[in-house]
Symmetry: C2
Subunit: 344 residues, 2 copies
């Protein structure tokens, strides 16, 4: 079913989403970006894609949202719930559905239960739906984990390890993982909150526990520097031996005092420099043991854009309100159907 | 949510299902098996499980089904649609939901569109649901494949290879794969229809194509003997070098003249005798390549029982009628919730 789409945020991820939206045959009816450098430019020029419309990018969200109704807003602006909730509420109030790639939106209750309840209420009041999705959180360490539990009679323990490569990312992501710092600087930056590690563990834990009906009563998180033994270089920076190449961020969940869940996420630049292969590995232990390896790892950027655009065709299957991925069928990429196109 | 369950079929798979139903806290209110040797015996004795009720197994399906209403019937009797459709219709007519592990029930339209439409009509007329599930078809070569497409912007080709071990199976399964035959006997048995290979490829192709919106316009199937170079032994039979150890059954699907799907299923006894490791492997090629390996393979028996019992908690989310796995959220094993138990 082809839909009207409003793009909200046209950074690197927003542009990936935009290109896929066009390839999929949806119609882009609005484009919002608050960056003054983008305001007034055309989507056609920004995307460098012949099929893209000569649509003017606007920084006036209210005006773009008010000019349409019943569209799906694809939001790619920020990671944290408090950064995106206001804009989402505005979208819902103007009668649009919203799909956000903000990490905390995959399970916003885990970030701020009151704010999540407010979004749910506003969405229901306007008969619209709001969903968060992405590769991590949203797929690699949660929905794919849950997929593997389908043939399990009993799940005693879940372990997921996502070993990925940060080399393609720019300075802000690298800084958030402490890349280029000394070990001492990493420790200080962690305490100061400038190094945060992965955003989304709380969401993955909540998605898994919610779907399996588990009560996680305690989690423990650790963030350790990955110190490089060799020099490593990306387009953005070079690190010397002994400097931080990335961050190993882990979370362990306990139920009734027993460890039931462990998610490990070593993120670094150029892992191959020390013969580290990137991969997604999931081990489910229960009445049977399932040991899955996907190598190389699922692409974070391409995968998140795809997850967001794929979800457009499934959103209407959920009731109005705050929707979780676990409420929907698998949001696979759906080829446009001639008869579906005719309907619209 | 705890449910009333009627067991229909108490062979090896039915008993596995029964044990899991009891572990999960559902209530077994009826047990049907047409085998005269089981009639009149108690479920407690058959399952050798202290928690099992002293419920008498009956061969009078009508009487058991009429004595209750609103239960979920778990059917584990046969593989083919025409063998199970009559019993399913009777269950639906008595006001029960049905979950069947008959391979063809995961997508019955692919076996007989008229018969599938009839089941859909009867289910809707009685406001009930009927679902087919299992590991293969149902999970390893279809739902898990679809799960891996979620982060894909474009899927050009799908390949799934399930390399499993038949050693635990009894004579009827081994015969259906030609185990123990000579190469010439295998060829004859294929032509005679006594060797059938895998049952369910048509269903996996239909589940995948239906969910992705693909139009498969042609499929090709091949069934080749796996000839053993060594002697191999199972509890049921011993084969000499040169005899058939199993069947390599493949199906290839084409859309617009292009190969888009290939499923390969080498099934044999004692694969380790020739250093063959069992596994499930899935390769998705498109805007990214996802190469997944699960080794050893997902347990077919344990997994099918789990898939059937897990689905009980999700069936009510679908509209009445014939339900496909792709209509439901991931049917993960759901821990019983105290508040859910109180509701019932």
């Amino acid at each position: 079913m082809q839909k009207d789409i409003i793009l909200y945020g046209l950074g690197a991820m927003g542009r990936r989403i935009a290109r896929l939206v066009i390839e999929r045959g949806h119609q882009i009816v609005g484009a919002i970006d608050l960056d003054p450098a983008k305001k007034g430019t055309s989507l056609h020029d920004l995307l460098e894609m012949p099929e893209a419309r000569e649509l003017t990018i606007s920084d006036d969200a209210e005006a773009v949202l008010a000019a349409h109704s019943g569209a799906v807003v694809l939001q790619a602006t920020a990671s944290f719930l408090h950064q995106v909730a206001g804009a989402i509420e505005t979208c819902l109030s103007h009668g649009h559905d919203v799909i956000s790639i903000a990490e905390e939106m995959t399970f916003p209750e885990a970030a701020d239960a009151d704010l999540a309840a407010r979004l749910d209420m506003v969405a229901k009041a306007h008969g619209r739906r709001v969903l968060g999705t992405g590769v991590n959180p949203g797929f690699a360490m949660d929905m794919l984990v849950l997929a593997l539990t389908v043939p399990c009679g009993r799940v005693d323990h879940i372990r997921a390890i996502r070993t990925n490569d940060l080399s393609d990312f720019g300075p802000s992501v690298l800084q958030s993982q402490g890349v280029g710092l000394s070990e001492a600087e990493f420790t200080k930056a962690l305490a100061a909150g400038t190094v945060v590690g992965h955003v989304g563990f709380a969401q993955s834990v909540a998605l898994i526990a919610g779907h399996l009906g588990w009560r996680i009563d305690r989690v423990e998180e650790t963030r350790m520097p990955i110190l490089s033994r060799v020099a490593r270089e990306t387009p953005w920076l070079t690190i010397a031996p002994g400097q931080v190449a990335g961050c190993l961020h882990c979370i362990t969940g306990y139920a009734d005092g027993r460890e039931v869940l462990r998610l490990e996420h070593p993120q670094q630049i150029r892992p191959e420099a020390e013969d580290v292969k990137t991969s997604d590995r999931i081990v489910i232990t229960g009445d049977q043991t399932l040991d899955m390896v996907l190598s190389p790892e699922i692409g974070g950027g391409a995968g998140t854009a795809a997850a967001a655009v794929n979800a457009v065709a499934y959103l209407h299957r959920a009731n109005p309100g705050l929707v979780h991925l676990t409420d929907l069928p698998l949001t696979s990429p759906r080829a446009p159907q001639p008869q579906e196109q005719e309907k619209v």
